[in-house]
């Protein structure tokens, strides 16, 4: 595993305040979700999950058809569609449109896809001001940090952190009451909304039969981003497309509940193109950027392509005992948690961070809560196999491969296995049945050391089971 990965995990584990913040925030979301999908609250929950999975599976298996249908229908309503293959094409498109429209200020609503393509950095590099308007994202933008969580980006920040950030970056007097901090942000961002020339959003869903972009939020910043400026650009991964507006009756029931335990998010916007004749407000131009950025790489694998079903609810993060300990910034890419662990290797190649698929106890909690039934543990296991195949090809980690070859040999030679067991038991210290705190040097291999760093080892029994069994 990379030194960076190990270090980040260690640093997060060693920070008690951060541990508490992550654990309580995710714990709250876990409880709220549970209440909202309980049998008396949502009796159809499992059925809805199956339906959602089936719709996503069908959409991905017929993706080209639905992308074309989406484009046709959106263009019929005055919208425009652009396909971009990577980050550079996205920023090039936005920059050239901004230049043509004489735009200097852009407001942005929360979008992991735009994080993925480093949009803000690229725009700012070219002299545009691109302001995040979701409160959590805004705080992080001021702090020059990446989001910590898909749904709760500033989960790791205390109100005192926020006070410091606001004072330093906004030059306002020290204020650590969340309501007042929110009011400060509201005032600053209101000005931006009303003077920006371009509003950029992501998309929770792209609806093929209506040519529509669906945005789900709680603050109202996505509504403002897509209603006030003259130009609206929605940047969406190609996997976001679903066949019919009526499918939202399934997805919307699952999304907010899975994310925060709400029945529905405060605002759900269904946007089909620019404002129409006679409308007083609304964008004059409506652009949708359909982004590949590696998604097409996931399509050929019939099992792993289910990773593209994700509706970005964050439930897997909240429930994952590993995420709840190592937090979002330990992960090597913008997507964290179990979903991050399965898409990162597929987008970046398994050798980008070969330890990532192994950073899981395979407890299965993630697959259990996924509203679209992505079998995350299965994909993790497949990725582990992919990592080992790649390592074999590149002649890396040969000692480990040898060890498992030896393991397989030993386990198919029962008499040798038995002998080995007796030898190990003889070597190990047995202190009247008490668990072992340290071992002799000969036995102190890295795995044994790793175990003993925080746990005791069981003492070897006087007789193995098969010896006891024989003596009956």
């Amino acid at each position: 595993m990379s030194v960076e990965f190990t270090q980040k995990i260690h640093d997060t584990l060693a920070d008690p305040a951060l541990q508490l913040a992550i654990y309580t925030a995710t714990g709250r979301l876990v409880e709220k979700r549970k209440e909202s999908i309980a049998p008396d609250a949502l009796p159809d929950y499992q059925e809805l999950r199956s339906q959602a999975n089936a719709i996503k599976k069908h959409s991905i298996e017929n993706l080209d058809y639905y992308l074309e249908e989406f484009q046709r229908n959106l263009e019929a309503r005055g919208g425009k569609v652009v396909y971009c293959k990577d980050s550079t094409e996205v920023s090039d498109f936005v920059l050239s449109l901004a230049r043509e429209r004489g735009a200097r200020l852009i407001v942005k609503s929360k979008s992991m896809t735009t994080e993925e393509v480093d949009l803000n950095e690229r725009l700012e590099h070219h002299g545009l001001e691109s302001v995040e308007t979701d409160l959590g994202e805004y705080i992080l933008q001021l702090a020059h940090e990446r989001p910590y969580h898909i749904v709760a980006p500033a989960l790791h920040k205390t109100r005192y952190d926020v006070a410091r950030i606001f004072t330093e970056r906004l030059h306002v007097p020290d204020e650590n009451v969340p309501e007042k901090q929110t009011a400060i942000a509201r005032a600053v961002l209101r000005e931006k909304f009303l003077s920006a020339e371009i509003g950029i959003s992501g998309a929770n869903f792209l609806v093929a039969d209506s040519g529509a972009v669906v945005l789900v939020e709680n603050e109202g910043n996505a509504r403002l981003t897509t209603s006030a400026p003259k130009v609206h650009i929605s940047i969406a991964g190609i996997e976001k497309v679903i066949p019919r507006a009526q499918d939202l009756a399934t997805f919307l029931k699952l999304l907010a509940r899975s994310a925060t335990g709400q029945l529905l998010s405060v605002y759900t916007s269904f946007l089909s193109g620019p404002k129409r004749a006679g409308e007083i407000d609304g964008p004059e131009e409506f652009w949708v950027v359909l982004l590949d950025n590696g998604r097409t790489k996931l399509l050929p694998d019939r099992s792993k392509r289910q990773s593209l079903y994700c509706i970005r609810c964050g439930a897997c993060l909240n429930t994952c005992p590993v995420y709840r300990k190592i937090g979002g910034h330990s992960f090597p890419w913008v997507y964290s948690g179990p979903i991050g662990a399965i898409i990162t290797p597929q987008f970046m190649g398994v050798m980008h961070e070969p330890a990532l698929p192994f950073a899981s106890s395979l407890c299965g909690a993630c697959g259990e809560v996924c509203p679209v039934k992505i079998d995350i543990p299965k994909v993790l296991l497949e990725l582990r196999s992919d990592v080992k195949k790649a390592e074999t090809r590149e002649k890396l980690n040969r000692l480990e491969k040898l060890a498992f070859r030896a393991f397989a040999w030993l386990m198919t030679h029962p008499r040798v296995y038995e002998l080995a067991g007796r030898m190990a038991a003889a070597m190990a210290p047995s202190d009247d049945g008490r668990w072992i705190r340290s071992v002799p040097l000969a036995m102190n291999l890295p795995p044994v050391r790793a175990w003993l760093s925080c746990r005791d080892l069981p003492p070897p029994p006087a007789k193995s089971f098969r010896e006891m069994w024989r003596r009956r």
Binding site: A25, L48, Q51, E61, N62, L63, D64, Y65, N73, R77, Y83, C84, K85, E89, L135, G136, A152, P153, A154, K157, V162, P178, E179, Q181, T182, A185, R186, S210, G211, A212, N218, E219, G220, R223, T226, A245, Q246, A249, T260, Q262, L264, S265, V266, Y267, T268, S269, F270, S272, G273, K275, R276, E279, I280, D281, G282, D292, T296, L298, L299, P300
Partner: protein
């Protein structure tokens, strides 16, 4: 350009050819429960109140609004229904704006925004608003308080019923917004704060 390239990669990845008909999608899943009007109204009110909004039934909308805007500035949309209720003629209510700059300025400075609603969803306490020449988007968005007047017959049971009536919302409007409670965030220490960018106060008048 990238379009053809990307679509080609998609097709190769999933094993389809250009122009190939799609497989049959899973049938649409819409379940509309039988709930009578009284129960729908009751549910709507309970849900809105559970979200810290206010909901009233059978109130006289004109009288309610007149009291609510006392000492405050208000802007109303151009919904004919609001005119019928006599709300737009109340002194202190700016209405009939058709210029976008004027509308923006009025909404940005008003304390209260008053609108009608096209539908409501009883099981979640949701207002459904379609943007039209009569219902502009910013009226329910910029002012810190929002009053919506909803004819009782427009209260549907749920999302399922909405999408059954409007299988393609884009056919009727460029924007359909589902509003479920006041604007909120829990971004700072998971502490709930209302009225972030949208209105922090919602009142639903069921008439």
């Amino acid at each position: 350009m990238s379009r053809d390239n990307i679509l080609h990669r998609v097709r190769t990845g999933i094993g389809r050819s250009a122009g190939q008909a799609p497989a049959d999608p899973p049938p649409v899943r819409i379940r509309i429960p039988e709930v009578d009007l009284e129960a729908r109204i009751g549910s709507m009110i309970a849900r809105v109140e559970a979200l810290a909004g206010k909901a009233l039934r059978d109130a006289d909308p004109r009288a309610y609004v007149a009291a609510a805007i006392e000492g405050k500035t208000a802007v109303a949309s151009n919904a004919p229904y609001l005119e019928e209720c006599g709300i737009t003629s109340l002194p202190g209510v700016r209405s009939g704006i058709t210029d976008s700059v004027e509308l923006r300025e009025a909404c940005a400075s008003a304390d209260i925004g008053i609108t009608s609603a096209d539908y409501a969803l009883a099981d979640t306490g949701t207002l459904v608003m379609l943007s039209t020449p009569h219902e502009a988007r910013l009226v329910s968005l910029l002012p810190p308080a929002h009053i919506a007047v909803v004819p009782r017959g427009r209260i549907l049971t749920s999302l399922d019923e909405l999408f059954s009536i409007l299988p393609d919302p884009g056919a009727v409007a460029s924007s359909m917004v589902l509003i479920t409670g006041p604007s909120r965030t829990a971004d700072i220490e998971q502490i709930l704060v209302r009225g972030v960018h949208g209105p922090g106060q919602i009142t639903v008048l069921i008439v």
